[in-house]
Structures are given as structure tokens and as C-alpha cells.
């Protein structure tokens, strides 16, 4: 039986050093080539889940497992996870003053190549230009400093640019749609779709609060997370149901389940 791309088994997690659990037993599976949407109200644990998968040092697993291609990745550092094929598009990307996007990306691309096998400068440049065009970003972006002075839309496009250049096997998009106007949303979605079309093995975990982005990036599966647990899973029509009815109907069920 083929291994799952990502498997969360009864995952419990919290902020490192704190008592309260944010994730209280999450079960979730993403297979190669699938797009999964994870929706939930504020405080449900969506972002925590993303950070746990990426290996953020500020969070810790208290029970359960995170398996990537069948292997438990809990001991792996964030850079090791990235090189293994995990990518997270940040909700709030950091600024790196004085470091150009081109420089930053080339370092990241070479980080997953063996020493002596760095990407050819011209090849890199060509690829970068191609991806910049895909995301409707002007060539001048390449020499701007990472996220410095970027608008919200530019930051999010920069995240997808990185996704495009690093070619991961799993992309976790943490509220990529937040703060975006409709035009930026379309561009970002177009970018993600182009990547999933190009690589049919790429798995996507799209974390969002609103259904809107799912009109552009069609999910294969939709999950709802509430109070640290996945309470409902279904197909794309589940997203529509949430849009029409809100989260309330699920809240009652969730309340009934958790003691």
C-alpha cells in the first residue's frame, strides 16, 4: 500500500512550555496529488497545525504522530523538513533586510542540492523569471529585499513564488488568502493551480477561514477543525454548506462530542 504524503494521527499539540493543548487529537490524511482544504473558526488550531507540520520551535507535540511519507518527522529540524519536501506558505512572512529575493531563493534551492551541484546561474535566472511571470510579478522583484516594504498581496505572492522555485512534495498554505483583494487572490490561486497541474504528485493542505479561495483552488477534500479536532470531512460541497450556514451547526455537534 502506498504511503500517505502526510498523516496526522491523534495529534495533540500546544505552545512550547504552556499547559493548554491547542490540538486535541487531530486525524488527517493527505495523499499525493490531492488538494485538501482545512477550514475553521478563529482559535480552532488551524495555524498551530501548520506550524507543527513545519516544525516551528515555539510549538510542541504532546501526543500522537506527524508522519511524512510514512516517516515520523518529530525529530527533524525545520530545514531538514524543508529539504525532505515540506513547504509552508506563511500567514505572516518575515522580512529579511538586505537580502535580495534572488539571493535568498538561490540559497534555498542550493540547500537541497549536493555540494558541487549548485544550480547553474543562468538556469536559475530563467526559472525565476518564468515564475515571476506566472505570478505577475515584475522582474525587479528579484532584487528587492525579502518582504521588506512589501504589501500584503506582494508578500503572499512571494510565498507562492518560493513554492514554485522549491518544488516541494507537500505544500501547506497557511491562510494564504487572508488580507488579499480579489485580484491578488486570483493571481495566487492561478499560481497554485499551475503548480498542481504541472506536478500531479504535489499535495496541498490549504488552510483558510473563508470559502472564497476555494472557488479558485478546487479542493478534493474539505475538513473542518474546531476546538483542536477535525469534526467533519467531506467533498467540495462541504465548503459551500459552511458558506451558507456558517460554523454554528458544527459547533453544536462539536460541543456534544467534546466532554
Amino acid at each position: 500500500m502506498a504511503k500517505h504524503l502526510l498523516e496526522l494521527r491523534d495529534l495533540h499539540a500546544r505552545v512550547a512550555g504552556e499547559e493548554i493543548e491547542i490540538l486535541k487529537g487531530v486525524d488527517l490524511t493527505v495523499d499525493h496529488g490531492e488538494v485538501h482544504a482545512l477550514m475553521g473558526p478563529n482559535g480552532s488550531g488551524k495555524s498551530t497545525l501548520a506550524k507543527i507540520v513545519a516544525g516551528h520551535p515555539g510549538y510542541e507535540v504532546t501526543a500522537g504522530e506527524v508522519l511524512f511519507e510514512g516517516k515520523n518527522i518529530e525529530e527533524l529540524e525545520p530545514d531538514e523538513r524543508s529539504r525532505a519536501g515540506i513547504f509552508m506558505a506563511f500567514q505572516y512572512p518575515s522580512e529579511i533586510p538586505g537580502v535580495s529575493i534572488s539571493n535568498f531563493l538561490r540559497t534555498a534551492v542550493n540547500a537541497r542540492r549536493a555540494e558541487g551541484e549548485e544550480i547553474d546561474v543562468f538556469e536559475f535566472h530563467d526559472q525565476l523569471l518564468e515564475m515571476l511571470a506566472l505570478l505577475e510579478m515584475d522582474e525587479s522583484f528579484a532584487s528587492r529585499f525579502v518582504n521588506e516594504g512589501f504589501s500584503g498581496g506582494e508578500k503572499k505572492r512571494n510565498e507562492i513564488l518560493q513554492l514554485a522555485m522549491l518544488k516541494p512534495r507537500l505544500a501547506v498554505l497557511d491562510e494564504t488568502d487572508s488580507g488579499l483583494d480579489i485580484d491578488a487572490l486570483k493571481i495566487v490561486s492561478h499560481g497554485v493551480n499551475a503548480l498542481t497541474e504541472h506536478d500531479d504528485q504535489l499535495g496541498v493542505l490549504l488552510i483558510t477561514h473563508y470559502k472564497r479561495i476555494l472557488d479558485y483552488i478546487r479542493p478534493d477534500f474539505v475538513h473542518v477543525i474546531m476546538k483542536g479536532r477535525v469534526v467533519e470531512s467531506g467533498g467540495p460541497d462541504l465548503a459551500q454548506k459552511l458558506e451558507d450556514a456558517g460554523y454554528e451547526w458544527l459547533r453544536e455537534d462539536a460541543a456534544a462530542v467534546s466532554v
Binding site: P57, E77, P78, S82, M88, I96, G98, F104, T107, L166
Partner: protein
């Protein structure tokens, strides 16, 4: 077959650069400083009487001044002054074995890809070096343009009037204790003259090395940029220069005359046992521009404050300084700007990085004399702390005697954020590489002013410094 005995006999056959020195009695070197040593230095260089008098007077001044109590810790240096050789000629070979060179220095050479031939030289093994400048490059076209780029000794010898007119006018011996010392025992350095209106496109470069046990280095450089001329001088070397317990006390005097433009770039990476105390000063005349680019990575203690005295109306001076201090190092650096004439402008940008127990301080002065109407000065000093124990201090001195002037000062201190680090690591970049990246980004505004090969070297050095800095 008969062979020429002369070369072998006088021991010049191993002399790499093929200089033929005059036949001089071999100078007997002794440690410590005395009037006798100063006389011997002057005699050996065949100097005119006025220079000998100058040296002797400077020696008196040196003895009369106390050791400075500010800046870094000079107590250990004071103790070793009696053991230092203040002057050595090439024939005094002090052999040291390659085996004695610390492994980490050898590793650094390896990592930087320094050619085998240079490694021993840089490590001070097999002495081919001495106080006098044996290496500088001068292109034919410069000669044609009338550009003078000589050793300081040749400057004095070949251009006596020009030399005497300007020598010690920018940094007199009385200026500070180490300027006095340098004035007494100076040896080696550059003499540069750029004639009126001449533009020298390619940077003039000179580097020298400190090589032998207990060897002090007292280079003296005098640069005169005549009206409307333009040039760039680079001094220093990014590769680590090794010796044991050494002391480097240089004086650099620059005159930038009306409408001229000049930039002086230094990158030093002296080994971590070196005391590096340098007086660098430029007199900037009407509508002229002076730029100091100062990179301090090595040494045990560096005290260096490149200065611009803005003497003529509309003069502009800037100092861009990078300092990196890691375990056991203290960089006390910054700059000085003195506004004497009206409508003068200045800019000091200082970026200092402290790692481990390293201490990186900014020490700067901005002085505006009465009458310097319309003077504008801006100081920006940024510090980056990489570890819990790292330390940075800021000592700004601001004296404004003209209230029709604009002075700005900004200072920031930051550390590498956890979120920043996580962001970079989540792209597959190792923690060390991520730190190096943040540091490179931090110094970018200054590094981009460096000639390309220096910038590349600087980046590589930082990468090496970062290795082992985490965990």
C-alpha cells in the same frame, strides 16, 4: 660553470620580489624602544636631518603621554612593549615552522581557497616580509599621468619638497600617544600623489603583512589628492593574517584638495592576538569629497576612528564602518567628523556585529565649530547581537557650537529574531547559513560599496565565522 656569488652571499636569493637593496650593514635588531633604535632606523633609511629630528622629538612626546584609559584594555599591550621589535630588515630572518601555526588558521586558508604559495606567507612562516613595503603595484599609465604611488620611504627620498610640505600636517605627533610612537618609528607605508584633474579609475592597492614574533607594524601613509583629482585606495586583506602577540599602530594622513574626490577602503582581518590602533585622518577642502570605508573583522583589539576634517566650504565627508567582534575580540570603532567651514556635510554609517562574548562598540564624534553655518551631519549606528552574552556599546560625542546646523543621530540594536530564523530554515537553509544570511543582509548597505572581490571575500568570511556559532 661560474655563477654569480653576490646574490647568494648576501642572502638575497630567497628574496621573492627581486628587489635589490643597497649594500647596508646588517642592522642588529633588539627588542624594546630607545633613542638608539630610532637613530638606527633613521640612519638605515638614509634620511635627511629634519626627519631624524622629527622622529626624536616624537619619541619624547610618546614618553610624555600617558596610555589612554578609554577605548579598549591596553594593559597587556603596555606590558609587551618592551619585547616588541620596532624595526626589522629583510635579512633578519625569523623562521617559524608551519607546524606552529594554529590548525584553525590553516583550516581557514583551506576554506577560503588561498593558494598554497600564499598560505605560508600569510602565516608568517619563512619570512620574506619586513617593515618596509615590498609590494605595491603601479601601472604604466599612472606614471604617464604623473601619479606617484611609492613606498613612503621613496616618497621622502624622491619627492622631498612635496613630502615635507604635507607630512605630519594632518596628524601631528602631539595628536595622541600612538601617533607619537608611529612618528618616531614609522617604517613602510605608501606615498601617493594624484595630480590636478587626474582621474585614476582602477583602485590603488597595497597590502602588507606583519609576520615575525613580537613584530610591531608602524606603517605611515601620506596621500595627497590635488585639486579636481579622483582616486580610490584599498588597503588591507580579508585573508587572516597571523602572528603571535603583535601590535599594529599606523598613521594615515590624507589631503583632499579643492573639488577632489577620494575614497580609502580598508578591510582588516588581523589574527585575534593583534592590537590594532590606527589614526586615520583626512583634511577635506572646498567642495571636495572624502569617503572612508572601514571593515574590521580581526584583531584582539581595534581602536580606529577614521576622521574627516571639513575645512573648506561645501566639503563632504563620509565614513562607512563595519565591525565584527567574536569571542575575545573588542572592536572599538566608528568615526569622527569635524565641521569647520560652512555648508559642509557628513555621514557616518556604522554597522557592528557581536557574537559570543565579542564586544563591538561604536565610538564617534561630531563636532561643529562656530561659523560652520549650514553644516549637516547624520550618524546612523546599528548593532546586531547574535548571542546572549554578546555586547555592544555606543559612545557618541556631539559638540555643536553653531546652531544654524542640522545634526541627526539614530541608533538601533537588534538581534536575529526567532521568527526570521524559522522562516529561513523552513526554506531548507541550515541555522548557520540562516544566521550568516541575516548578518550579510545587515551589512549590505556598506558591503555593496566594496569592490566585488572584497565583497565576495567578506561574505565568505562571515559564513566561516558563523560556522560553529550555533548550538
Amino acid at each position: 660553470m661560474p655563477h654569480d656569488p653576490t646574490v647568494a652571499e648576501i642572502g638575497l636569493d630567497e628574496y621573492k620580489y627581486g628587489f635589490i637593496t643597497e649594500d647596508k650593514p646588517v642592522f642588529k635588531a633588539q627588542p624594546g624602544l630607545s633613542e638608539e633604535i630610532v637613530r638606527q632606523i633613521s640612519a638605515h633609511k638614509d634620511e635627511p636631518e629634519w626627519m631624524l629630528e622629527f622622529r626624536l622629538k616624537a619619541l619624547e612626546i610618546y614618553y610624555s603621554k600617558p596610555m589612554p584609559k578609554w577605548g579598549g584594555d591596553l594593559n597587556q599591550l603596555e606590558a609587551t612593549l618592551d619585547e616588541i621589535y620596532f624595526y626589522l630588515k629583510p635579512q633578519e630572518k625569523m623562521e617559524r615552522s608551519w607546524d606552529d601555526v594554529p590548525q584553525e588558521i590553516k583550516d581557514t586558508f583551506e576554506k577560503l581557497g588561498i593558494p598554497e604559495a600564499e598560505r605560508k606567507a600569510l602565516a608568517g612562516v619563512g619570512a620574506q616580509y619586513e617593515s618596509e613595503m615590498v609590494y605595491h603595484s603601479l601601472k604604466e599609465q599612472w606614471e604617464e599621468q604623473g601619479v606617484i604611488f611609492d613606498s613612503i620611504e621613496d616618497g621622502l627620498r624622491n619627492h622631498p619638497e612635496l613630502f615635507r610640505e604635507h607630512f605630519a600636517t594632518v596628524v601631528p605627533p602631539r595628536d595622541n600617544k600612538f601617533a607619537a610612537l608611529n612618528s618616531a618609528v614609522w617604517s613602510g607605508g605608501s606615498f601617493v600623489y594624484i595630480p590636478k584633474g587626474v582621474e585614476v579609475e582602477i583602485p590603488l592597492q597595497a597590502y602588507f603583512r606583519v609576520n615575525t614574533e613580537k613584530m610591531g607594524q608602524f606603517e605611515r601613509t601620506l596621500i595627497i589628492v590635488d585639486e579636481g583629482a579622483q582616486a580610490h585606495y584599498i588597503e588591507g586583506c580579508t585573508a587572516p593574517t597571523y602572528s603571535s602577540d603583535s601590535f599594529h599602530s599606523g598613521v594615515i594622513e590624507i589631503l583632499v584638495k579643492k573639488d577632489a574626490r577620494f575614497r580609502y577602503t580598508t578591510i582588516q582581518n588581523w589574527s585575534h592576538n593583534m592590537y590594532n590602533l590606527v589614526t586615520q585622518r583626512a583634511m577635506v577642502h572646498e567642495a571636495a569629497t572624502m569617503e572612508w570605508l572601514d571593515g574590521n573583522l580581526g584583531s584582539k583589539l581595534t581602536m580606529k576612528y577614521p576622521s574627516c576634517f571639513l575645512m573648506g566650504e561645501g566639503a563632504h565627508g563620509s565614513i562607512l564602518s563595519i565591525a565584527y567582534a567574536s569571542d575575545g575580540q573588542h572592536q572599538d570603532t566608528g568615526g569622527k567628523v569635524v565641521h569647520v567651514a560652512p555648508n559642509t556635510t557628513s555621514q557616518i554609517t556604522s554597522k557592528s556585529i557581536s557574537r559570543g562574548t565579542g564586544r563591538s562598540s561604536y565610538r564617534g564624534q561630531c563636532k561643529v565649530y562656530k561659523g560652520a553655518v549650514g553644516a549637516k551631519s547624520n550618524v546612523e549606528c546599528d548593532a546586531l547581537l547574535l548571542d546572549e552574552d554578546s555586547r555592544t556599546d555606543t559612545y557618541p560625542y556631539i559638540e555643536i557650537d553653531e546652531n544654524r546646523s542640522t545634526i541627526g543621530h539614530e541608533a538601533t540594536v537588534s538581534k536575529v529574531g526567532e521568527e526570521q530564523l524559522f522562516y529561513l530554515m523552513s526554506r531548507g537553509i541550515s541555522e548557520e547559513e540562516a544566521m550568516a544570511m541575516v548578518v550579510r543582509g545587515f551589512i549590505e548597505p556598506i558591503a555593496k560599496e566594496l569592490p566585488l572581490e572584497y565583497a565576495i571575500e567578506l561574505n565568505r568570511l562571515i559564513e566561516l565565522e558563523m560556522e560553529g556559532s550555533v548550538g
